[in-house]
């Protein structure tokens, strides 16, 4: 499942749903979901999956996007309007005794004021993140194998330099 999180009425906060909208148009053979925020009932949704990729906007960082695996965590600082992916995974484990693999694809955004359009830089980051995700999804065999490869790759020291970004397909996005 690929799950886009964010509010499209808040400019770059809508990066997650924007990526889902693109995948829907591509008729990707995936379970696709989009919501303003992760919520308690998503623990049930997680429990029905082997693997979940959360796509969300990043407010900080100097990379166009990050991709990392997360673990269930007792995250008690959350508010009801935005459970962390770690907290949802933890609830999934506690309530349904299931532990799907959960990854975060965080895409750097820059503008979060009321408005419907993604900023230019965010759109560029979205394209790069999408290309990265599509590359994973096109790999033969179970997506799980592909993600295992990426997980190892993202453990390497992050490469920087936006000029080269996207040209080297083997480059790690960092984590």
């Amino acid at each position: 499942m690929v799950y886009g999180v964010g509010n499209p009425g808040r400019q770059d906060d809508g990066l997650g749903p924007a990526l889902i909208a693109i995948l829907e148009k591509k008729k990707a053979n995936l379970t696709l979901e989009a919501a303003y925020q992760l919520q308690v009932e998503d623990s049930l949704l997680f429990s029905e999956q082997d693997m979940v990729i959360i796509v969300d906007a990043l407010k900080t960082g100097n990379k166009p996007f990050i991709f990392k695996k997360i673990k269930p965590k007792r995250d008690f600082t959350f508010t009801s309007h935005s459970l962390s992916a770690e907290a949802v995974a933890f609830l999934c484990q506690k309530l349904y005794e299931r532990t799907p693999e959960v990854y975060i694809l965080g895409i750097r955004g820059y503008e979060f004021n009321p408005g419907e359009k993604l900023s230019q830089k965010a759109r560029s980051n979205l394209r790069e993140a999408l290309a990265y995700l599509m590359e994973l999804l096109r790999k033969p065999g179970l997506p799980k194998n592909s993600f295992d490869i990426i997980e190892r790759a993202s453990g390497r020291k992050a490469q920087t330099g936006r000029k080269n970004h996207g040209k080297d397909k083997k480059r790690s996005p960092g984590a």
């Binding site: 906060d13 979901e33 919501a35 303003y36 009932e41 969300d56 008690f76 600082t77 309530l95 009321p114």
Partner: protein, 482 residues
Amino acid sequence: MARKITIEPVTRVEGHGKVTIHLDDQGKVSQARFHVVEFRGFERFVQGRPYWEIPVLVQRLCGICPVSHHLAGAKAMDIIAGVPPKSLPPTAEKIRRLMHYGQILQSHALHFFHLASPDLLFGFDADPAIRNIIGVAETHRDLAVKGVLLRKFGQEIIKATAGKKIHGTGAIPGGVNKSLTPEERDYFLKSPAPFNIDTMLDWAQEALELFKKIHREKKEILDNFAHFPSNHLSLVRKDGALDFYHGVLRAVDAEGRKILNDVDYHEYLEYIGEEVRPWSYMKFPYLKKLGKEKGWYRVGPIARLNTCDFIPSPRAQKEFEEYKAYTNGLPNNMTLHSHWARLIELLHAAEVIKELLHDKDITGEKLVKKGKKKHEGVALIEAPRGTLFHHYRINDDDQVTMANLIVSTTNNNEAYNRAVAWVADKFISEKPEITEGLLNRVEVAIRAYDPCLSCATHALGQMPLEVDLYDSKGNLIDRKRK
């Protein structure tokens, strides 16, 4: 040394707020304020947009109750499309009601099971690592699972009626764009337990019984905590029944005397004023008849059960009678009884959903009506958190030229401040130390009103709760995070 305590953001409310408590040199509370970083500019954001886009566009106000804005926007656009409430096709009104009561069900379930229950079950002084939904999941797994499924059931109702989980397009000016198929209807009526409406009804009743049990055990704190008199305002059906979707505007004072006697909400500007205070982005609405000082009011579950005469569904009515008997029929001004009121509404919502699912109109085919276009529309709806006003004007090119929204949280603005001041005065000023339990009491009072601060932005990396302590000169002398 005078001190200022800042709590930011308030945890487990929708969005972010900040509480400042000002202490004098003797450590007494001199002032308490609930600041809101409100979603500003939305009324300008919609200007210039064609009116038929409004029901979809306004959902972007909020990720927690988009359905309320969707339906309020649609109701206002009905007027502009020349379709007054009475002439809406029965299928359209019932599908909208189903959507709305599904929204009430999921929102109230979220609030009780996942926001309020940690405080009620574990106590305000419990370890914060336990006093949250994860603590409930670990110690009351069955309760947490039921909360999840109740919420999911409401969400699925919304999806079936609005077309999508978010940014639904179900309600359109003059009607709806879909009704339910018999298969969709039967999914909610006849799915194997637990995912059917009968199970949801039973669970809603169980939640009420749980609250009443906790109330018997903790009567003193639940009755006295942030107990203060106020006026109350809500929509009621013309015959005085509780109604979340449509009716007339009624306000009562703390003793139950009517201040607004079932007036037409289209004329709300005659009755409601909005005061601006320099320290808050959020306005302070008041009843013009009583003036700025005395005209503030509460909205939401506790207000609705204070204004209505009865609840038009049998199980909720029975609970309502017990609830009203507790205050000898007088308005209930006990802040933490809002949880009780909310659960009675949860039960009522489940009953109404069941009734609507058995109504043949929800599978009807006449979905929309057209009329003669008007240039102004006002709508009112009871959102989960309280009364919600939408008011628009359009020009001859069908573009919105003016929008005025008074959201539930704004309507409760003064109530939050009163609740914070009450708690601060009782629990903080006499204590030399700022403890987690004391700070949480401030949050408990605010959470009882379930405010939604219209801040659906939540990108990764937000700040945790932060508590700052300043001296009289504005110097930061302490900071706590959680």
